[in-house]
């Protein structure tokens, strides 16, 4: 049988200062699936995403496409799992768009033509072709967000994890970004407060609260549970509350 895209077995993590962040996480994500992770502020959503590619390591097992996340597999894992950070300013850390998108492929020591091709393809996928020489500082927020996605796409990952992909975007940029996101064939994990987004994209949703998985299930069912949502400082999305579409 094909191994799942992501397999997490009893993962726990505490920050170096001793603050516990995740406790006994067990999780399976099938290949090609789009999964939502919802939960209140400070639930540990971002921390969990950081474990998918091993930049944070906790106690327990994380397996990606059948590979154990450890030092030995680090490079392979980083290529397989792309992380789109909440704040594009964190992800775009070089002076130009080209250098930002080329950073990953360069670290993989691809040959120059391959890097150029990957940068071009990645920028085209997010509708930012021709922006290579622009400085990242002077892009609009929506553009920065799309270039952030391109920096990840340049490595052609099998799994892409998004941290609050739609926060701070105006409604049009949000819709644009979602359309780019939907077109991606990769397995997607989306951590967000934007429950409408989860409803739109994710078949399966996980509710994370206080560093543990409270429950998981079919998205409409889970998000429609008023008592559960309000207990964890969430709200039933309007489109669901107003009855079936």
């Amino acid at each position: 049988m094909e191994s799942p895209a992501i397999e997490i077995i009893s993962l726990s993590f505490s920050y170096p200062d001793g603050v516990p962040a995740l406790h006994d996480i067990n999780l399976n994500v099938a290949r090609g699936e789009t999964v939502g992770i919802v939960g209140p502020n400070g639930a540990g959503k971002s921390t969990l995403l950081m474990h998918l590619n091993g930049v944070l390591r906790g106690k327990g097992t994380v397996r990606v496409m059948g590979l154990d996340v450890n030092d030995e597999n680090a490079r392979k894992i980083r290529r397989l799992v792309g992380l789109v950070f909440q704040d594009p300013e964190d992800q775009l850390f070089t002076p130009t768009v080209y250098e930002d998108v080329a950073f990953g492929p360069l670290q993989m020591r691809y040959p120059r033509e391959e890097i150029d091709r990957r940068v071009r393809d990645a920028l085209r996928t997010v509708g930012m072709e021709g922006f290579e020489r622009r400085s990242s500082h002077h892009l609009s927020f929506g553009e920065k967000k799309r270039v952030s996605l391109a920096t990840v796409l340049a490595l052609d990952p099998e799994i892409i994890a998004f941290d609050e992909p739609t926060s701070n975007l105006d409604p049009c940029s949000r819709e644009e970004f979602i359309s780019y996101l939907m077109a991606l064939p990769a397995t997607k994990v989306i951590a967000t407060h934007d429950l409408e987004l989860v409803l739109q994209l994710c078949g399966h949703t996980i509710l994370l609260s206080g560093g543990t998985i409270v429950t998981e299930g079919e998205t409409r069912e889970l998000l429609g549970d008023r008592a559960l949502m309000e207990k964890h400082r969430l709200r039933v999305p309007l489109s669901l509350a107003l009855g079936p579409r």
């Binding site: 980083r78 290529r79 775009l92 002076p95 250098e99 080329a102 670290q107 890097i115 500082h137």
Partner: protein
């Protein structure tokens, strides 16, 4: 000139500055030559002259310091003196020569560097430095500074505006508030650095910085910088002293 390869511009700029600072102060002809060449380059590059003049003002504090020293250089022939009570202030030829030399050299050097940075985007300049074997780590640090400095100064402006919107006039504890703001900014920049590190690791960063190869140099680029350096060297020779 804006399109010329950054590498040859860097090399030309460094050569010209070296020639300028090592020219003896008495070689007036050389300095005139340098100024004419630079003015010609300025005209070709269409950089506004005001930009250059403004940059030259940066040397003023130092020029003033040297000017203050003038009356104290006792050697040489006295050019001009004031007697005031029991004191005599005298300016000697040697002193004036020193003042002139320092002033003209620093202004021309600033002219050179300002011309370079006005015609070269900073990211191209960094790539150029890198191909010229400037350590990658240094280039990377410079590019981080360039990327985040303006983000932080925007942050600072926002904090200042937020402070102003809550206070009418400069408070007695103004300095303390401003220092707190810088403290806050540092905490934020530290957290930013942590997240940037995670973002770098996520894309395969393992402690070594990899950079793309260098493209070949065009003949026109080489000719331009070679020409500029040659003109400078000619001006230097014309001054009669090598």
């Amino acid at each position: 000139m804006h399109r010329t390869d950054a590498r040859v511009k860097c090399v030309a700029c460094v050569c010209c500055v070296l020639l300028i600072v090592t020219t003896p102060a008495t070689a007036v002809l050389s300095f005139t030559g340098y100024a004419l060449i630079l003015l010609a380059l300025l005209a070709v590059s269409r950089v506004p002259i005001l930009h250059i003049v403004r940059r030259t003002l940066a040397v003023m504090p130092f020029v003033l310091l040297i000017a203050a020293c003038l009356p104290f250089i006792k050697r040489g022939e006295v050019m001009w003196s004031v007697a005031w009570g029991g004191w005599t202030l005298a300016v000697t030829r040697d002193g004036l020569r020193l003042f002139w030399g320092v002033f003209v050299k620093s202004s021309l050097s600033i002219f050179c560097v300002a011309l370079l940075t006005a015609t070269t985007r900073f990211d191209c300049l960094l790539r150029g430095m890198e191909s010229l074997r400037c350590p990658r780590l240094v280039v990377m640090l410079l590019s981080f500074l360039y990327r985040y400095a303006f983000l932080f100064s925007d942050d600072l402006m926002r904090m200042l505006r937020a402070k102003r919107s809550r206070s009418f006039r400069p408070a007695r504890s103004e300095a303390r508030i401003l220092a707190g703001m810088l403290g806050m900014l540092f905490v934020r920049s530290y957290e930013r650095a942590e997240r940037v590190y995670l973002a770098m690791c996520s894309r395969g960063f393992d402690g070594t910085i990899v950079t793309p190869g260098r493209p070949a140099l065009g003949a026109a680029d080489l000719a331009l910088s070679g020409g500029v350096i040659a003109c400078f060297a000619a001006a230097r020779l014309a001054g009669g002293i090598w």
